[in-house]
Amino acid sequence: MGEKQTRAGKKKETVTDDAAQQMMREVGDLWSRFFQEQMASFGQTVSSGAARSFFTEAGKSEFRNRWQNFIREEMARCFQVNPIGPLRQYQEKTIHFVRAFAEWEAACTEFCILMNRPMEASFLDVEEKIRRESRTGGSKIPGKDLFSLWIDALERRYMDLYRSEEFMTALGKTLNAGTSVTKAREGLMEDVLKSLHMPTPRDMDELYREIHLLRKRVETLEAQRKGSHGRTR
């Protein structure tokens, strides 16, 4: 029995070590590729002499996919161990929290990338406008108006984004993922508070609800009493 436990312990340790090493490799590789891509993009921008989107859509998309893959699979893999034993429910809650956190992280990344899109698009809009005006020999404008041009373009781009189905889906997904993390965290906190013999938020809410309902009953009874007194008078 003791030998079995030792073996199991060793095996578990190996799994965790492997996963951790792979995770580190994955992060290193991811950042190294991202950095190389951005340097290549920057080089291209400089050599072409043309202002363009610094973060290319293709590069971003790959970066995003790999990052989310890493968060969802590699990070969560470390905790993909079926919980057993008397403490299993605590382990299960921890795993639930880590998974919820991974989902939230992925949703946030996607949301941030989406929010960055109008930024890039607005820079290109301004560039295009300047080019167009330059070609047609348009009237002179003060350089400081570039800021206003850009802000107007940015606002327009955000408004377009905000009305898109893609944005609303991403917003909903991020909010839902956020609430899942909060609930999972609360589950963990409840265990800690219980172990300290302290009331949990859920205990407090139950009490508050009872007080709220009691107050309403008292108000109703008082109103009824007033009414009946009025009638007898």
């Binding site: 002499g49 202002a51 929010m115 560039e127 300047i130 080019r131 005006e133 330059s134 020999g137 348009g138 009237s139 002179k140 404008i141 003060p142 350089g143 400081k144 570039l146 800021f147 802000i151 940015l154 606002e155 955000y158 408004m159 905000y162 009305r163 609303m168 917003l171 909903g172 909010l175 839902n176 956020g178 609430t179 899942s180 909060t182 609930k183 609360e186 938020p201 407090m204 809410d205 508050y208 609800r209 007080i211 709220h212 108000e219």
Partner: protein, 373 residues
């Protein structure tokens, strides 16, 4: 000055040079904010005349001659604070109303705690608001009060006036949504499929920080970038900085919103649009807008992106009153209270409108010349 006939890159270089100057100015911000600045808000004198749980009732006496016999009760929204109506001495709706001869009461909803999460719209409208109205009626020995609501406070006032028409002499609503089925405002669009149950399960009361973030998200170009650039550009202008700080103080002072109130507001109003269809219920009592038979003055902003005109204007055609008027001001959701142009238009129009209608009832309320002590 850079010309558009020059290379775009010359323009960009100019822009970068300017950015450098901006950066220099940015470095002066900490020192500028360390100056002795006056940024107090809500400075018009008042006294607290009623308190219940987290609610306080502020009482303001007219500046000069009292021209409107019936006191005016102001109901602000649950989001942000009522200090918006008294932001600074030269931009104060409260001061404008007092100068117009009105006696003003204003509800301060306070800061909801976790224990308030079960409070519903009914608790606010038929509970707190009704008890405040009762208090004012008793204090002045009058049958009715003038009621004015701002934003959600206006929606609550519409509900109150429909449920208690005998207690409201005149109703004024300002940027108050009643028609929620519109896609003109982003909030209306986003709220349609908003998982409000999930949020409440996780958070309880809706955190003020969450609401702040949501409002900034609505227009990051203006509210996150342009606003602070303007601030840095005007860092040497002390009155500008003081006004800016007042607005910052107000805008990020967001109390949490009681969970059940928020849930009902999102579901019944934004998602089901029950109010305008006379189908919304508070504690089993249906709100029928046709029971609003008193005079109604309904303000909204032409450029209001939070509560667009389409969400406010339909009120007048749905009420039972024949004396209803829509007033569209050329401003936005906040500008209606703080822009210098609105200052000249908004409060004076309310006091004029009230005194025209209050005069008819003056004889009846002669004994209500002031509050009983």
């Amino acid at each position: 000055m850079a010309g558009l006939d020059e290379s775009p890159f010359r323009l960009m270089a100019d822009f970068m040079r300017r950015s450098g100057k901006d950066l220099e100015r940015l470095m002066t911000v900490p020192a500028a904010l360390g100056r002795d600045l006056r940024a107090e808000i809500g400075e018009t004198p008042f006294e607290i005349v009623y308190e219940e749980d987290r609610i306080r009732l502020k009482h303001y006496t007219p500046l000069g001659k009292r021209r409107i016999a019936t006191p005016l009760l102001l109901v602000y929204a649950l989001i942000n604070r009522e200090t918006m109506l008294d932001l600074q001495p030269d931009r104060s709706v409260i001061r404008g109303l007092l100068e117009g001869g009105a006696e003003v009461y204003m509800i301060d909803w306070g800061t909801p705690a976790r224990k308030d999460r079960f409070l519903t719209i009914d608790d606010h409208v038929n509970g707190y608001m009704d008890r405040v109205v009762e208090f004012i009626r008793r204090r002045h020995d009058i049958p009715k009060v003038n009621l004015m609501g701002v934003c959600i406070g206006g929606t609550f006032s519409v509900m109150y006036a429909a449920l208690h028409p005998a207690k409201v002499r005149n109703l004024i609503t300002s940027v108050s949504p009643v028609q929620f089925d519109t896609d003109k405002g982003l909030l209306h669009l986003w709220m349609k499929n908003f998982n409000v149950d999930g949020l409440i399960d996780a958070c309880g009361n809706i955190p003020g920080d969450f609401l702040n973030f949501g409002f900034l998200l609505l227009n990051p170009a203006r509210l996150v970038i342009e606003k602070y650039k303007n601030f840095v550009d005007n860092i040497e202008d002390i009155p500008f900085v003081e006004n800016f700080l007042r607005m910052e103080k107000w805008i990020f002072d967001s109390p949490d919103v009681p969970a059940e109130t928020f849930r009902q507001y999102v579901k019944d109003c934004y998602q089901e649009n029950l109010l305008i269809q006379n189908r919304m219920k508070l504690n089993g009592k249906r709100i029928d807008l046709r029971r609003i038979t008193m005079p109604v003055l309904n303000f909204y902003g032409r450029y209001d992106h939070l509560v667009p005109p389409e969400a406010c204007a339909p009120l007048i055609e749905k009420i039972g009153s024949r004396d209803g008027e829509n007033v569209c001001l050329d401003t936005g959701h906040i500008g209606i209270y703080v822009s210098s142009r609105a200052q000249k238009e908004f409060a004076p129009r309310i006091t004029r409108w009230l005194s025209e209608r209050d005069g008819k009832e003056k004889a009846k309320s002669r004994k209500s010349a002031g509050p009983k002590r």
